[in-house]
Symmetry: C2
Subunit: 993 residues, 2 copies
Amino acid sequence: MSTPLSFQDIILCLLAYWKDQGCLVQQPYNIQVGAGTMNPATALRVLGPEPWNVVYVEPSIRPDDGRFGDNPNRMQMHHQLQVILKPDPGNPQERYLKSLEAIGIDPRQHDIRFVEDNWESPALGAWGLGWEVWLDGQEITQFTYFQQAGGQPLEPVSVEITYGLDRITLALQGLESVWSMEYGAGISYNDVLLASEIEHCRYYFEIADVEALKAVYDTYEREAIRCLEARLVFPAHDYNLKCSHLFNVLDTRGAIGVTERANYFRRMRNVARDVSALYIAQRQEQDYPLLQRGPGQEQQTDGQIQTGEPVSASAGPHPFVLEIGSEELPAADLTAALAQLRTAVPALLTDLRLDYDTVEVHGTPRRLVVFVPQLASRQTDLETVVKGPPASRAFDATGQPTPAALGFARSRGVAVTALQVVEDQAGRYVAAVVHETGRPAPEVLAEALPGCIAGLTFGKSMRWNATNVSYSRPLRWLVALYGPQVVPFTYAGVASGRTSRGLRPYDSPAIVIDDAANYARIMQEHSIVTSVEARQATITAAATALATRQGGRYRPDQALLDEVANLVEYPTVLCGRFEEHFLALPAEVLVAVMKKHQRYFPVYAPDGRLLPYFLTVRNGDAVHLDMVTTGNEQVLRARFADAEFFYKHDTQHPLADCVPRLATLTFQAKLGSMLDKIRRLEQLTPIVARLLGLTAEETAVAQRAAALSKADLATRMVVEMTSLQGIMGGHYARTSGEPEAVAAALAEQYNPVSTTRPGLALALADRLDSLLGLFAVGLAPRGSNDPFALRRAALGVIENLVANQTSFDVRQALAELAKLLPVASAAETIAAVLSFMHGRMEGVLRERGIPAAVVRAVLAEQGDNPHAASQAATALAEAITAPDWPEVLASYSRCVRITRQLHETLVVQPEAFTLPAEQTLWVAYQAAAASQDGTVAQLVAALRNLVPAITIFFIDVLVMDEDLAVRNNRLALLQHIASLPKGIVDLSCLEGF
Amino acid sequence: MSTPLSFQDIILCLLAYWKDQGCLVQQPYNIQVGAGTMNPATALRVLGPEPWNVVYVEPSIRPDDGRFGDNPNRMQMHHQLQVILKPDPGNPQERYLKSLEAIGIDPRQHDIRFVEDNWESPALGAWGLGWEVWLDGQEITQFTYFQQAGGQPLEPVSVEITYGLDRITLALQGLESVWSMEYGAGISYNDVLLASEIEHCRYYFEIADVEALKAVYDTYEREAIRCLEARLVFPAHDYNLKCSHLFNVLDTRGAIGVTERANYFRRMRNVARDVSALYIAQRQEQDYPLLQRGPGQEQQTDGQIQTGEPVSASAGPHPFVLEIGSEELPAADLTAALAQLRTAVPALLTDLRLDYDTVEVHGTPRRLVVFVPQLASRQTDLETVVKGPPASRAFDATGQPTPAALGFARSRGVAVTALQVVEDQAGRYVAAVVHETGRPAPEVLAEALPGCIAGLTFGKSMRWNATNVSYSRPLRWLVALYGPQVVPFTYAGVASGRTSRGLRPYDSPAIVIDDAANYARIMQEHSIVTSVEARQATITAAATALATRQGGRYRPDQALLDEVANLVEYPTVLCGRFEEHFLALPAEVLVAVMKKHQRYFPVYAPDGRLLPYFLTVRNGDAVHLDMVTTGNEQVLRARFADAEFFYKHDTQHPLADCVPRLATLTFQAKLGSMLDKIRRLEQLTPIVARLLGLTAEETAVAQRAAALSKADLATRMVVEMTSLQGIMGGHYARTSGEPEAVAAALAEQYNPVSTTRPGLALALADRLDSLLGLFAVGLAPRGSNDPFALRRAALGVIENLVANQTSFDVRQALAELAKLLPVASAAETIAAVLSFMHGRMEGVLRERGIPAAVVRAVLAEQGDNPHAASQAATALAEAITAPDWPEVLASYSRCVRITRQLHETLVVQPEAFTLPAEQTLWVAYQAAAASQDGTVAQLVAALRNLVPAITIFFIDVLVMDEDLAVRNNRLALLQHIASLPKGIVDLSCLEGF
């Protein structure tokens, strides 16, 4: 195609394409929606059993994507083309790729990739699995298999294909910005849309009246509920969409805090759930009218399913190959599946009594491969002894077999003469030795392989067709060959055969495997690198070479390499560049954009600074690599432009100016805004600093950091990339002229381990405030439900203190904090938080291998001081391994047990001791007490030293003397000894006490 | 086309058609709108000078069109296809008709008509002129030349073409209901939309929360205003659209009264105005980016403009024809233009000194024709005498002409020897007799005809192209022939020529007229009936015959005939039928639907009842008349089904049940709801009845009627067809079992003249309540602004009383009413209402030819009693024509003038009269006073009788006697005489007083 299509032509062309595929052509919805999914033509029609194939355009409004027209491809309004195929026609990806060809995108000239992207809409109560489709690094389509909508599981599953029309046109027209594209009729996209874009941004970000729109939200939610009460599905859905848009506007205005957000989502989800349930009920009442439709709506197959061939055993071992072909597996699912197969297949073959030499397991995003070079053609034979009736009943007096023996022999397929008599504890029996001849390998494999595949588990699985089988992504073909022979079976509606598929850029040609022996060679011939390790090695080598060519360094990043290698079947690394001026942005920002958004490797100069290059991997060969490179550069330019937009905006004013804006960001309804939170932190941090023993100077730094601590949440950069919170706070603090120490404390406030003392004070104050505050308002985690990540907060406190080897009395800090909270926090709340933290601490210590009893012993006395508890636990765990420990503990426990009933603390009167053993023990006790420094080591040493004196004491002295004074004096002595571990450990928790 | 297109195919086909015509293809708007016009792609883009051609679909929401899916073609959501052509390409109608052919509508198989329909959007501050396009009687398209939008005049004018996609599909698929159409992909329209349709109806009619949505309206209006303050055009427009939708919902819920409605419209219009002004200002600031565009956006001509031919005079008279070809003129405009031409053309020809025999004027919707069978080829010659310098300065002493004479002669083009000396009152001058030879007819006509066309005036005119000429509809061709010769001129950008156009159903072929003499024959050959009378006669004859064939009667209806004959160029009458069961509906309803909506003639049985037939006129011949008939029957079926829907709904409950619903129908904010109003009328009507002297029984009837008087406003039938208000009240009263007298009073409550006395009481009470109430809240008419039609209300009171010859004291009624109003109405308010009514009364009487002075005289005394005033005015106007009237008046006026200064009323003491003339006049006065019955006749007779006595009195008696007692007694006598007309007329107002 020489002249690229205009925007409007692309739309008309895609509508025509999908119409020809049997889709109904509908119109955009007449309510502002964030996505075509919300149009009832999707949101409702995917529910229930009726078939539904539809295509429509959906101008989609996402206020917070607004960039005032300053970004090349990010706008508050973008255009989606939405396709729903229900049920899955069996080849939706191929249909989709053909649609791209229809508008002029040649797969050989580009890099088209299916990159895992699971979709979830908290507001719609919906989720699905699928991918982003990348065109030269640019996301141009979302491809999703809906699993649930409106809280309802979907059956059949719908395939949703959502094209980003603007980005596709941008790529096709080969321009740098959507604003210079042709819309149609000689008019530019800019002419049609730019003024409206800029104005809507201004409205959403600067003008919208927060309180008034919140009131409208409430009204519209009430209308939705009133509609539901009147059993009106569509009007209720409409109002929910309006609520959703209002929510988005409020959110963009920065008016919605974390807790409020969760609350709004809950409200929208509730309506969506009721709408969906009602819709399904109504369709059912109408007997599902569309269920009767014939043509165009039935499940179609892609001609791939192959019938099995006759099975016959052949002599000698043969190679075996199983290829499970599917749509693109997520990188992590691929890794997981390979690991599972490496364990499961050998176990299976052993179980099946099929001898083999080795099992090779490989995989690419589209195929899992099991290759066994030498697999026996038959199972090994088996001999088993089966018990029959008692010998006494098996033979009559004459030694002739009775009918019981005859029946038993017949049922086991042996001659009655072959029965043997065996004897065990229970008596004498007849027994048959059953000889089982091994069955041919193909036969047993055909039976076993479905179960083998079914045994694979993934982080998230999905259903896609009427078999309701679950797998990571739709399973589309199965190659199963024993030598030249197909191992015939069917799984998830797919019959095994000998036809594999080639690379996507080559249009996934059918590849016929004549013999398992040739599998590897054929794959190689088709440029498919099945080995993960081989792909990783190729990438590493090429990336290193390309970086070096630019005078830079490729810095290995195994996590990214793992992912990238699993996104391709044939890796070709390319090096792109970006404009140097972007290097003015903080490196963390650039790296986050490259790695997180684009899966690119940054290129570093020898001095560690970034160079204006990136490395990425194409799926396929080097044909037209220049176009792919240009496309990827384009994408990165837009991403960086976005970051630059945020950065410029954020650095126009000092960071401190963001603080007042936190007033509109709700932390939690009863706990106030984020501004309220940092006001509290300003008071709490000095208290924490005092408890930590910070200097006055450090305390001042910590307090200033507290005053700025959440300010970056109101910056655009952090709103956009939450992972940069804290980091950006540090950056912006520096650009605002704050002291370096303050910036450092800010930068590390979310880190698991603080490296500065002011940073530690702030991090602790922040987490404790969240914990006590949210517990106080009744939002403690329940079960697996921990929406405010309080478990992580608690662990953050514990692990940070442990790592910093810093003692800290959490209880005391909470008591001080309680006075600052805007809600009453009773002593029980503090107790609940501490108990919650003990729980986390227990987990931490147990994971370190500390015995449960030791943990209990430590936490009972030092649970409120994580570092101290940690040290004590280690020491105690060590101590109890000493050979004489049982003796030490027994000795101590005698002192405890005899004094346990006392309700008062008795006073020792040394002059009243009458026996030497008393006197000796008293002296020994005084030495022990004097030696204590609060450590377990000193405690145990002291107890050990006391053993002889205690032993003699109990031999020589009758504690329970009739004279009360004498008795009490002896008990007082023992009570003192029993109290020695007080505040360190509670030895009564230990075994053997 | 054998298989009709599906709904989606029609959409795609039309989009492709208009794309090929150079239109941008946009998407529907993502806000609920009532029409595609509201999409900013129209609402804003038609503003300012920039070209703009666009096409898009717009699902349009009109809640009150909702019929719960029960109507074959009326829904709360219909689909528009909107096309904007800016500027007018010169042939938009032809382009439109081609688009119909593109989707398979053959103009020879149907009746396609352009029926006047001017468009106005009070909410958008917009209006335009154009048509509904009818396809076999069904409105399928709105075709409008926008003249104004957002209160801004438009230059250039935009052509708006709005297809009703649903109805077009219905017609094309030949089905009875949209619900059985195919939408696409084998799925019916019903499958896609019916459930949503029904539910949205339920929401709009039954569920929507009125108060909550009113509050949202207020919020959204504030947001719009805040956006405008921030200079944000598009977001402000969006909010105005949302307001508009909310208004529609509230309206459908019956929550908006007449006054409130005007108020809402004003609010929306204000925002629309500001949005438009701001948009234009912004585009100007940007230097109108689209003004630079070249291809596809410039004005195109249709190749019709013809260049003139050389003009030469030819001997002898020749026929002349002028044909002004235009797009379809409204019926009334055609009538008006013909009348104007009948006067203007003869005057013009006379003025031009072109002799002619007769002037024939004809016309069809597409052409105005002036035909002069015999028109002189030249102007008649002219001789004029022109005065020159005084004779004394023109000739020297020797009699030789001076330079002054020579110069004069030269300037007038005569020989100096030809100068004559003439003498008049001022002296002697030289004079030239100038002989002006007549110029050729074509030459002078070419100069004069543009002015002649420009002189035509229409009720509403429009501009359409860059010449900014105004005409009823765009003028598209001009034929001007004098004999075989073109009379060359240009008007409104169109050059005259000899090419006319044929009938629309024949694709408007070009028709070349070789000679004016053949014009009539050629038109006839092309089946164009240029004579209005001929068309009317054809219709009448055919209608009569067709009605008779069905055993019925065609009842002449001149107004409808006038209109119908002016909608076609070639009338063919057809008779359609409808299902008999519709006859169960009230005849008024059926007739209103047939006449008003469809311009059909009903067919009556001999006994006056309706028969299930209708007569309508097709433009064109009888080819495929069956299809046209079927189409028209279809349309009427849908219309009647609609009426039936209303009727059934309305008669489910007694009329009285509607009354409480009036509580949500605001009459006026301060005056309360319509329910409040009828509660007042229930109290006021008996009072009016008492003043009218009704019996107790009549009074009871009137009061019951008052209690039900506005109930029908809450019925669906009246909501839909306001013209049936009152009539339906009467009907529904009967079906509810109310007494016939009550029904009759209700039925006639809005009639100008009441025929029953209870009806009169109610009608008066209703109008007086509106008058006093609205005056009291400051809503009296101002200038031409009379939104509540209070002028008509006042006239209604006056004319009804006059027609019923019933005396009635309006002032007294108002005084009683004042006590019932919820707002204070001071004496000044009553005075203002009365003064307002006097004004109307004055108008009424003046129109009847009563002299202004007489009117003043009467109103001064009886203005509060219209009937009495009317009678008095007639009598007084008669009286003053009597020969002796000046004497009678002079005589009476002497009595008045001499007593005018008195501030007190003196007492006559008959015994104190001393002179006979006194005594005589006293006696005469007593007789006169005794004869008075309040009529002008008796008054005038009495005054006449008094003349002799008054005359003698003033001769014999010195009124101003020095004796105070004597003087006062004489003044008392004259004062009594002066007071005789009191309460009848104020004779001092008359001329000659």
